[in-house]
């Protein structure tokens, strides 16, 4: 009778001992990316497999999940599920998602394939390979789920084309390109740890529970279906950090530097999410500030308490991010409001109910700094002078968010924050200490950034007129601008028999 292998042992014998030990070609030629970042790996065999999934089990679980998911997607389309959401304005959140996030899932797919080839340890290699194929899954399930919405709403029609071109999408794109253009260890620290482990809840909770609160069952379903993959990815994120730091004492400082940098980079991308969460969801499950307190201050505080024994500390400038939490969404949404004439989504002044909710959630800031601004914009709209900013914004050389942030941590929330660095006799502007420090550390890299307003002025985005640029983006005239009177709102009203009891008819003040 053959002896039994337990799961752990079985996984080990099926997967270990495969790592390639080249003898005909030099190791540094077969794995050319493993050493140049300065990370020292002494023994890949010390790698603890974060999830012990053999390929047969993987196929089985994933196929079961996908069968269920696609059954929901099909029935959603068949039953015109898009008519059961709270309000058509909710779709603006989905537009940001498919334009800004789904292309990153695809980028992650390719990025983890790079690691799967470049890491010489088979444990890490296999974990990255599984994440790579999972990320392909996520990009495709998102395309397939949102395909039905695309048939009925504006702005969802060309997400991958837009992601490569549109000004506000250079915020997520440049973040991801930054990680991808780095070496494999920095990439995995950035995406697996800073993004997937530290900040992922701040991305997925607003979108997924936002979807649930607004009757969007299709998005909820792909969100939940992705969750078991995400938990594997988070485990990988934690394992890789511990592994690198334990391998060699010289690694700690390098990794801490990457955590600092990519925390700040990812946090700036989440500024878009904060605006979506507080302003674009007709029914918000929680505010950005509440989410920040739970998922960052509490959870990450505890995490870094644990990681203290490895010598790791909280990311630099995290205090600034926490102080900013009472301002972030208001400042970012104001920019989106002002420039939505050149966006693939619509914006509007928050309704009276929404403003009251914001006052309640932001007692220290909303009434004092932001409500008066919205009341002014509402008044202008009433007078037929809906405000759009006719110029092009100056944007941060690093995070590429328009310069809208203020000196909150210096106690001056009404003073615009900007920093200047000089490199090769040129001046470069950044939005914050965090972004300036990133620039100053690798100035050469950030001079390469594809800065949308500069590109427009140089004539690289279709032409000099705003209509030329919108054509370059493949935006239709109805895609952006003011939500009230938009094609989406009209469709919604006609599909709901123009019923004034619907939430879309809520008056704004």
């Amino acid at each position: 009778m053959a002896k039994k292998l337990n799961m752990r042992k079985r996984y080990e014998v099926l997967t270990r001992g495969l790592g390639w030990e080249p003898t005909y070609q030099p190791k540094e030629k077969v794995f050319p990316q493993e050493t140049y970042e300065g990370i020292k790996i002494v023994d890949w065999d010390k790698w603890e497999d974060p999830f012990r999934l053999t390929t047969d089990a993987y196929w089985k679980y994933q196929a079961e999940k996908d069968k269920k998911l696609y059954a929901v997607i099909d029935s959603f389309a068949q039953n015109n599920g898009h008519l059961n959401i709270t309000d058509a304005s909710y779709i603006n959140a989905l537009k940001i998602f498919i334009q800004g996030v789904s292309p990153l899932e695809y980028g992650a797919h390719r990025g983890y394939a790079n690691l799967a080839r470049q890491f010489s340890g088979e444990g890490a290699q296999l974990a990255c390979q599984m994440q790579s194929i999972d990320e392909l899954r996520h990009s495709q399930t998102q395309i397939h789920t949102l395909s039905h919405y695309n048939k009925h709403f504006t702005g969802l029609h060309d997400p991958f084309h837009m992601h490569d071109r549109v000004w506000y999408l250079s915020v997520p794109k440049s973040y991801f390109d930054d990680a991808r253009a780095s070496g494999p260890f920095e990439f995995i620290t950035s995406i697996s740890f800073a993004f997937e482990y530290i900040l992922t809840n701040l991305l997925f909770v607003p979108f997924m529970s936002g979807a649930a609160h607004n009757g969007d069952m299709a998005t909820v379903t792909f969100g939940f279906s992705a969750q078991s993959d995400e938990s594997r990815h988070m485990t990988l994120g934690l394992e890789i950090i511990k592994f690198i730091v334990e391998q060699h004492e010289d690694n700690l400082e390098i990794v801490q530097g990457w955590i600092d940098k990519h925390f700040w980079r990812a946090y700036r991308v989440l500024g878009l999410v904060s605006a979506m969460q507080d302003y674009m969801l007709p029914d918000s499950p929680m505010s950005w500030k509440e989410a920040w307190d739970i998922y960052f201050v509490d959870n990450c505080g505890a995490l870094f308490n644990d990681l203290g024994r490895y010598g790791l500390r909280m990311p630099k400038f995290h205090e600034q991010a926490t102080v900013e939490a009472e301002h972030l969404s208001h400042q970012v949404y104001t920019v989106l409001y002002q420039f939505s004439n050149a966006a693939g989504f619509q914006t509007t002044v928050p309704t009276k109910e929404k403003m009251d909710w914001l006052s309640e959630k932001y007692p220290n800031t909303f009434d004092k700094y932001y409500r008066p601004r919205w009341e002014m914009y509402a008044q202008m709209e009433k007078e037929g002078k809906r405000y759009f900013n006719a110029g092009l914004p100056q944007i941060c050389q690093v995070c590429q968010v328009p310069m809208c942030f203020t000196e909150i941590s210096k106690g001056k929330p009404m003073d615009l924050s900007y920093r200047v660095s000089e490199f090769n006799s040129d001046k470069y502007h950044t939005c914050s200490d965090g972004c300036k420090e990133i620039f100053d550390h690798e100035p050469e890299k950030y001079t390469h950034a594809w800065i949308p307003p500069h590109q427009i002025f140089q004539g690289n985005c279709g032409g000099a007129e705003i209509s030329d640029v919108l054509k370059y983006y493949n935006f239709n005239p109805e895609d952006g601008g003011e939500y009230h009177g938009s094609a989406d709102e009209q469709m919604w009203k006609s599909a709901h028999g123009n019923n004034d009891n619907n939430s879309d008819a809520k008056e704004s003040v």
Binding site: K3, V13, T15, G17, L18, W20, E21, T23, Y24, Q25, K29, V30, P32, T55, D56, W59, K60, A63, E64, D66, Y70, N80, P103, Y106, R110, A113, N114, A116, R117, Q129, S132, I133, R137, S139, Q140, I143, H144, S147, K151, H152, F153, T154, L156, H157, D158, P159, F160, H161, H163, R165, K173, D177, D178, R180, A181, S182, G183, Y446, H448, Q455
Partner: protein
């Protein structure tokens, strides 16, 4: 009796995504495959040069000498996107699992004649390392290749390699009743036994190729085109005739996989060669060079696997491969 169900007609604003519409027409509904693979990969306005190749972009057509006007000319005849891929594989895996259970229950491998057991361990077991290397090559193509219709297939292909390496490991464990001596020997054979060294040398030379399309040809067209018919067709039939019928069931996945895989590699060669004379010549040169090299590397192995006419059979296999590739438009 007919029942009239009152429905409200909802008129759609558009039929498909614009990026699909540009390819198939804006008034034509798209398949899930089309939505998932066309033009999903970024193409322009990259922010920073990769730190490992500062003269290149993150996604760069210059990573191969093959030139295509449109990198989406190739589409997968199987139309695999993630979901259809895992569902197809889950079904195959269910069959394989039953095969393993049955053979284990009836001790069908552990009761084999000693010389058959040792043949399987010599010929089949070290292939787990070959499959692992083939996976590395496919991850590389997925990383540096161009166009999601091609790169996503390399991702699936690589995943399949890991699966096959695990099936081979399970066969080895089954023979050894879950002791790991066969796996240990497979590795030392792979690293030291002269029979494997030319193949291992060739694989390492493929690892360091700059051109990802050459890796595609050397690995997925040529090396597979020689090893799979040699082992998972002829060698397994040979074993079968000697009484090791169970092994046919345990390698069923590999045999099916190869039949399925050449459908897309044929199509890839066909559309790439048809694009230009330069592409055709390049592909033909790669096939010629690598098939000469790998055929030589497999000579001793083929005799060990098939007996004294092994070399001749290997030549037959190479001829079949060339005939098939000539049909796709290559000049061999």
């Amino acid at each position: 009796m007919s029942v009239h169900i009152s429905t409200k007609e909802i008129k759609a604003k558009r039929v498909n995504y614009a990026y699909i519409g540009r390819r198939i027409g804006h008034d034509k509904p798209a398949s899930r495959y089309q939505e998932a693979i066309y033009d999903v990969q970024p193409t322009t306005n990259f922010h920073y040069p990769p730190s490992w190749a500062k003269d290149r972009e993150l996604y760069d057509v210059r990573n191969t000498s093959i030139v295509m006007k449109d990198w989406y000319t190739f589409t997968d005849p199987r139309q695999y996107y993630y979901s259809s891929y895992v569902i197809a594989r889950a079904k195959q895996q269910e069959g394989m699992d039953n095969n393993f259970k049955m053979l284990e229950k009836h001790n069908m491998l552990s009761s084999l004649a000693v010389e058959l057991k040792s043949s399987i361990k010599n010929i089949l077991s070290p292939l787990r390392h070959v499959e692992y290397g083939a996976n590395m090559n496919n991850q590389d193509i997925c990383d540096r290749g161009y166009g999601s219709s091609i790169t996503s297939l390399s991702s699936f292909n690589g995943f399949d390699r890991i699966a096959m390496s695990q099936y081979i490991s399970r066969i080895t464990l089954l023979i050894d009743e879950n002791e790991t001596e066969g796996l240990v020997k497979a590795k030392s054979d792979w690293l030291e036994n002269p029979m494997w060294q030319e193949l291992r040398h060739a694989m390492e030379d493929i690892f360091v190729l700059d051109d990802w399309f050459e890796i595609m040809v050397a690995q997925n067209v040529v090396m597979d085109g020689l090893i799979f018919p040699l082992i998972f067709d002829r060698y397994i039939k040979n074993l079968h005739s000697k009484g090791a019928s169970g092994i046919t069931l345990l390698t069923q996945f590999m045999a099916e996989w190869y039949g399925e895989t050449i459908r897309w590699t044929n199509q890839l060669i066909k559309v790439t060669a048809a694009e230009s004379e330069e592409n055709k010549q390049l592909l033909s040169t790669w096939v010629t060079t690598w098939s000469t090299r790998i055929e030589e590397a497999l000579e001793v192995y083929s005799v060990e696997a098939l007996g004294e006419d092994g070399k001749q059979q290997l030549t037959e296999i190479k001829t079949e491969l060339f005939t098939r590739l000539t049909k796709q438009g290559l000049d061999l």
